[in-house]
């Protein structure tokens, strides 16, 4: 097979989920021995595309041709068997097993049910040597390895299955600079053997470095296919990713912009958590929406959780209403008037099996209680008020939260803090998992809150959302604030540039 044989072709692939058309006509062509980069903003459909290829999702329409044959992968095992291996961001290794066991997990060489342990170790060693990492001890527990080594083990697993196509989802997100160089060496070794790689990254410089060709996705569609990764101007790549078609309806900003002269509601000064974010300073005024944007791993969510006291800072000051806030204590933050809607609504914010009103009053049911006895009727009335204000649907506070749509669940979380007279709301990815129509509604809710005097500090990876909703925008990259400006003075491309600018170019370039 020559180097330019096409191994994989996707034509007009469509995948819809309830309320979202995640893939809306994707074209993709991957050749043997190339590194094919996928580029696109959050929500552009990259993850869905990977999952279609890995056999997790089945496409609704369109054609997949794999090695010259029309193919359908009903499940991940089928995709693996066909020679497509996927390395997800959260590596799916078993921490308690050895390196060798992980590499051969699920297809151990065996005889009459007994694993041939010697052979497993020998072959694992061979595979690691092939990857240029013979130094990784095959008997070591995977959980004790650094992230970079884990990634190599993951790739080793793909090799052990004789994969012809390796899909890597943001492999560099968890790696330090020198480890990225190492990763690239390994990838080059693989492509030299004729293995195709689909490489996903937000960092343009990496794409220039390792990529051969680029396909750009936007809103589930291929907007540009097979661009040259080395020579295509950055401007062109970025413009292909931006200018989203989905109509976001943002509420108008209030006439008089929140006065930055007045004393800030929240003042964060030099906040640092080692390895997560460093020296972050920012202000939020009452009635103002401040949006933080940045890539996953830029320290945004960690920053929010630290302000809320769920993590303890290593340095820095948090001041609320002129008073210093005790660090690392959620009850103290709640008492000072802070409220938070965390990123993982279901696992971090809601008691799914309980009715709406109990979730709304979760943070302050004690206020409705008398001498320790709760007053359900009073709680329901209060929750009803909140439901009215937030336009909760259905307007039934006895309904179990599990049965609500994503947008309405988010309203329940926001409503919780409204009830307690919260002065500052911290919103982490408020529209994640919320379908497009309900988003506009949530935006209006957030804006109305701000207009009523609440300060909002919001994190979002969707640049248009931050630009459209926030009064001021803070851009974070690798744990640091790289830009802070009024939303009106920024445009999508500028922010994307800031967000994605590769650290390798600025930092440890040899």
């Amino acid at each position: 097979m020559s180097e330019h044989d096409v191994v994989l072709t996707l034509t007009d692939v469509v995948k819809t989920f309830p309320g979202v058309r995640a893939l809306d006509g994707v074209q993709l062509e991957v050749r043997a021995g190339e590194v094919h980069c996928l580029l696109g903003q959050n929500g552009a459909g990259k993850s869905t595309l990977i999952k279609v290829l890995a056999g997790v999702h089945r496409p609704d329409e369109g054609e997949i041709v794999w090695l010259g044959q029309p193919a359908a992968f009903p499940n991940p095992q089928a995709a693996m068997k066909a020679g497509i291996a996927t390395i997800y961001q959260e590596l799916d290794l078993v921490d308690g097993l050895s390196v060798a066991d992980n590499i051969f997990l699920g297809h151990e060489p065996r005889s009459v049910g007994f694993v041939k342990r010697g052979q497993v170790r020998r072959q694992a060693r061979e595979i690691l040597a092939k990857l240029g990492h013979a130094e990784i001890p095959v008997r070591r527990e995977v959980g004790k390895l650094p992230a970079a080594a884990k990634q190599v083990v993951s790739m080793g697993r793909a090799l052990s299955r004789e994969a012809r196509l390796l899909i890597m989802d943001e492999p560099s997100a968890v790696l330090a600079h020198d480890e990225v160089a190492n990763l690239f060496r390994v990838i080059r070794g693989l492509t030299a053997q004729g293995i195709a790689v689909i490489y996903i990254s937000h960092r343009l410089d990496e794409i220039r470095d390792i990529g051969d060709r680029v396909t750009v996705l936007k809103d589930g569609r291929t907007t540009a296919a097979n661009l040259d990764a080395k020579t295509t101007p950055t401007q062109e790549l970025v413009s292909r990713m931006t200018g989203r078609n989905i109509e976001y309806v943002f509420p108008p900003r209030s006439e008089a912009p929140a006065s930055p002269e007045g004393a800030p509601l929240l003042a964060v000064d030099g906040l640092t958590r080692d390895g997560e974010f460093a020296d972050v300073s920012l202000n939020v005024h009452s009635g103002e929406i401040v949006g933080i944007t940045g890539l996953v791993g830029s320290g945004r969510s960690e920053l929010l959780e630290t302000i809320f006291g769920a993590r303890r800072p290593h340095a820095g000051q948090i001041t609320v209403d002129g008073r210093s806030l005790r660090a690392g204590s959620v009850p103290a933050a709640v008492k000072a008037g802070l409220g938070m809607a965390p990123e993982e609504r279901k696992s971090q914010a809601l008691v799914l099996g309980e009715p709406v009103y109990r979730n709304v009053t979760l943070a302050n049911f004690a206020h409705y209680a008398r001498a320790g006895f709760t007053d359900a009727a009073k709680e329901r009335r209060a929750a009803d008020d909140v439901a009215e204000r937030l336009d909760l649907r259905p307007r039934d506070v006895r309904r179990v939260v599990r049965t609500l749509s994503g947008g309405n669940q988010q309203k329940v979380v926001v409503g919780r803090w409204l009830l307690g007279g919260t002065k500052l709301l911290l919103l982490d990815e408020p529209t994640r998992g919320v379908d497009v129509g309900a988003r506009a509604e949530l935006y209006q809710v957030i804006r109305r809150l701000a207009d009523s005097g609440v300060g909002v500090l919001m994190v979002s990876s969707e640049v248009p959302e931050v630009l459209g909703l926030a009064d001021r925008v803070v851009v974070m990259r690798e744990g640091r604030v790289v830009r802070e400006a009024p939303a009106g003075s920024l445009d999508e491309e500028t922010v994307l540039d800031l967000v994605m600018a590769g650290s390798l170019l600025e930092g440890a370039q040899p």
Binding site: K335, L350, V351, G353, L362, A369, V400, G406, G407
Partner: protein, 355 residues
């Protein structure tokens, strides 16, 4: 603008796996009534036990006086386990488990019947039992909440250690209740309004437990802690303190149960309360308390104990061997959990799924 905004939200599909609630209406169909419906199921099981009794042993079950006496025996035998199951219900709803309850009953029964304690009279004995039980429970809770020991392991260690301590204190002997402390043993013998005091104790503890669980902030925190600990923490609830208190509460219930056991046996002994933990946990599960936490009912736990003891009684009055009884109990535990998992609503969904 509003049209574009509102229509998709209204047609937003329910997330997969959501129960189909729309067709049912009224309180009876409400989620709030779900525990009540399940408890009624347990009542049906109790009635079934009586029916079997009426068929197999008509001389007891078809004579009002005989039946009344027999059922009072069942209730009396349920009392101590019932009190323990109430504490256990709190712990399990809060997302934990307490394996040490049987051993704590033994330890407390021994502690409150030493000559030194008995010198303080019946009130001193009761006081000692409640305090020792609570402190032992708080030790469990401290290890689990602040020492981050897994509940299973911490209470397993307490199970072993508490029984050892009970043997040490008693010198492996049974400690009789002195004649001057006859007030204690009277608990097992006397009746109020024709109902044994032991049964009254269970009813009172059950009523208090129900109110605390369903009508107080403590109860609300318990549900939140077990239902979603992270959400509870981020809502400003002091998870660790609450977890510790839950085990303290379970220990307190063990102390109360120990007094009842001492009264019945007219003695404290290091082998009291053997395997009570299993009976209590089984009763909670039959009563619809989810081992994963966040869901459960006091009434269910008490009915669960009644079902267990009712079956034991049925076997005894039929002169059947104990081994059959154990097999039937095992089947009931599994049956109750299976019933919880495949309720009618979920059956409907189950059929829809292509497998």
């Amino acid at each position: 603008m509003t049209d574009i905004v509102k229509s998709p939200a209204e047609t937003a599909p329910e997330p997969a796996g959501a129960p189909t609630l729309d067709r049912r209406t009224g309180w009876w169909a409400d989620d709030a009534s779900e525990p009540v419906r399940r408890n009624l199921g347990l009542v049906v099981v109790l009635v079934a036990i009586w029916v079997v009794g009426a068929i197999t042993v008509p001389r007891i079950f078809l004579h009002a006086g005989q039946l009344w006496d027999n059922e009072l025996i069942v209730l009396q035998q349920s009392a101590a386990i019932g009190v323990i199951a109430i504490g256990m219900t709190f712990v399990i709803i809060g997302g934990g488990i307490d394996l040490s309850v049987g051993a704590l009953v033994a330890l407390t029964s021994v502690w409150c019947t030493t000559q030194a304690t008995q010198a303080y009279g019946p009130a001193g004995m009761v006081f000692a039992a409640l305090v020792v039980g609570t402190i032992a429970g708080l030790v469990n809770g401290f290890l689990i909440a602040y020492g981050r020991v897994v509940a299973f392991i911490a209470t397993l260690a307490m199970l072993v250690a508490a029984r050892g301590l009970a043997q040490l204190i008693s010198g492996k002997r049974t400690q009789r209740v002195n004649i001057e402390n006859v007030a204690i043993t009277n608990i097992a013998e006397n009746r109020i309004l024709g109902i044994p005091i032991l049964v009254w104790m269970l009813l009172v503890v059950g009523a208090i437990g129900w109110v605390v669980l369903n009508r107080t902030t403590f109860g609300r925190r318990t549900f939140a802690t077990g239902g979603n600990p992270e959400a509870a923490r981020l809502a400003g609830i002091n998870l660790r303190l609450h977890t510790m208190l839950l085990y303290g509460l379970s220990g307190l219930c063990c102390g109360i149960a120990a007094i009842m056991v001492v009264a019945q046996a007219t003695a404290g002994a290091p082998d009291h309360g053997d395997l009570y933990e299993l009976d209590a946990i089984a009763a909670c599960i039959i009563g619809g308390t989810a081992l994963a936490g966040g869901r459960g009912s006091i009434v269910g736990a008490i009915l669960g104990v009644f079902v267990f003891k009712g079956i034991t009684n049925l076997f005894i009055v039929n002169n059947l061997e104990q081994e059959y009884q154990l097999i039937v109990k095992g089947a009931i535990i599994v049956g109750a959990v299976l019933l919880q998992q495949f309720r009618v609503g979920s059956l409907r969904q189950f059929r829809k799924q292509p497998t």
